[in-house]
């Protein structure tokens, strides 16, 4: 199993942001996307997740193999931690929430409403959700936002364990996670536009 991206171009809001992105990630490896804000990390991840259409190029991954964690955690604040996890576990047909509880030590929070969780606890729940999907390819968009050092370490351990069992992880992050099996990819080299001029004097601040 392998995630392979060939000559991918994507757009954001009608403007081309990335062109000619090519890479491949083997099982047991992680790829960390780097690049300044606005370079198109989120756009690339959303395209690979299938939420956006690729302009050109192809994404090769086994069917039904991708799980995605975006900026938002997708939690229902009126439901408890357990109910939130249960829902996603049954949506993915695994029906087992224990991997998420172990990964992020969520068991003490099990019957707490998601509304009453702190920002970091919500993030832990949102990231732990990937462990219940049972899918081999994990995509993360800025996973460590609002996590403290201890939980960032837990997150790194969760990803490490996933890689050891033959999984693949692709993430956009600015933090050094200390993952052993990780490669880095600077998206700056695939930038579609040299500058952000739109050809419109108003939008370019000509007035």
């Amino acid at each position: 199993m392998e995630l392979r991206v060939e000559n991918l171009s994507c757009r954001r809001g009608g403007l081309p942001v990335l062109a000619g992105v090519s890479f491949s990630v083997r099982r047991g490896r992680a790829l960390i996307l780097r690049g300044p804000n606005g370079v198109g990390k989120t756009t690339l991840l959303r395209t690979i997740a299938g939420l956006q259409l690729a302009e050109t190029g192809a994404i090769h991954a086994p069917e039904e193999s991708i799980a995605y964690a975006g900026h938002l955690d997708g939690l229902k604040s009126a439901l408890t931690v357990q109910q939130n996890l249960r829902f996603w576990a049954s949506a993915y047909g695994t029906y087992d929430i224990s991997p998420a509880l172990e990964a992020f030590d969520l068991a003490p929070l099990l019957n707490r409403q998601a509304f009453d969780l702190s920002a970091g606890q919500k993030r832990r729940l949102g990231l732990g959700r990937l462990a219940v999907t049972g899918r081999p390819i994990w995509l993360f968009d800025e996973p460590t936002v609002s996590l403290d050092a201890e939980n960032t370490e837990l997150f790194a351990q969760m990803v490490h364990k996933h890689l050891e069992t033959g999984g693949i992880a692709l993430m956009a992050t600015h933090i050094e996670l200390g993952l052993a099996n990780a490669d880095r990819l600077d998206l700056g080299q695939f930038r579609a536009l040299e500058d952000t001029e739109t050809g419109d004097v108003f939008l370019d601040g000509g007035f």
């Binding site: 995605y68 938002l72 997708g74 009126a78 949506a91 993915y92």
Partner: protein, 218 residues
């Protein structure tokens, strides 16, 4: 799918926007009409089928803008789109959950509100039947409108403008069924049309809505 239905019903009950709100709205609309047109019982009896149907339709509209908007705002809709659940199934399940929380209670309580409007006796059974057959179409058409406006800030008003004209056929055939039943005429034609609209909406609109949501998520 069953998990999604259970989640949506639970959320509807927890957040209070479910069973109670649209019923209360329905009650207020139907009680306002006698205040507006005066207490002539013959007049009320004549307009009762129409008022009850319009009231049900407006009450149904009330909770539509939250159907996908809440899931869009907290990121769940993205995650649902990546999950193994087909988007068509997600739309149909959410429309079904909407019907259980609005259409079903409206249907069951409509005869009670019919009394307030002096609905003639032969109308009750067919009011119940026409609402039971017609309200699923209201939820499904509404889900289609909600999927088009998902992601728009303050899309609620636009949603009403989009959806209300699409409700017209359901309204016409629904209230016509009840009116004909009261006047002792044959009502099988409007009832069959009503059922036809519901079946057509349930068969086609999940696909259209799913396509609209995918485009809106891009």
């Amino acid at each position: 799918m069953r998990a999604l239905l259970a989640r949506d019903l639970l959320l509807a009950m927890r957040s209070g926007g479910g069973f109670g709100l649209s019923l209360a709205f329905f009650l207020i609309v139907t009680t306002l009409v006698p205040f507006g047109v005066g207490p002539q019982t013959e007049l009320l009896a004549r307009i009762a089928p129409g008022i009850l149907w319009v009231g049900a339709l407006l009450a149904c509209l009330l909770s539509l803008d939250r159907l996908f908007q809440l899931d869009f705002e907290d990121g769940s809709l993205d995650l649902l789109a990546v999950s193994p659940l087909p988007m068509e199934g997600v739309v149909a399940t959410k429309a079904f959950a909407h019907w259980i929380t609005t259409g079903l209670p409206l249907t069951l309580s409509a005869p009670l509100f019919g009394v307030l409007l002096n609905l003639p006796a032969p109308g009750y059974v067919w009011l119940l039947a026409s609402l039971a057959i017609g309200t699923p179409a209201l939820s499904m058409i509404g889900a289609f409108g909600a999927s088009i406006t998902v992601g728009l800030k303050r899309g609620g008003l636009l949603l009403s403008l989009l959806v209300l004209p699409l409700y017209v056929p359901t309204l016409i055939f629904g209230s016509e069924t009840v009116r004909r039943a009261i006047d002792d005429q044959s009502f099988s034609a409007p009832l069959a049309m009503l059922a036809g609209i519901t079946l057509l909406a349930c068969a086609t609109l999940p696909f259209a809505s799913a396509a609209a949501i995918r485009i809106n998520l891009r």
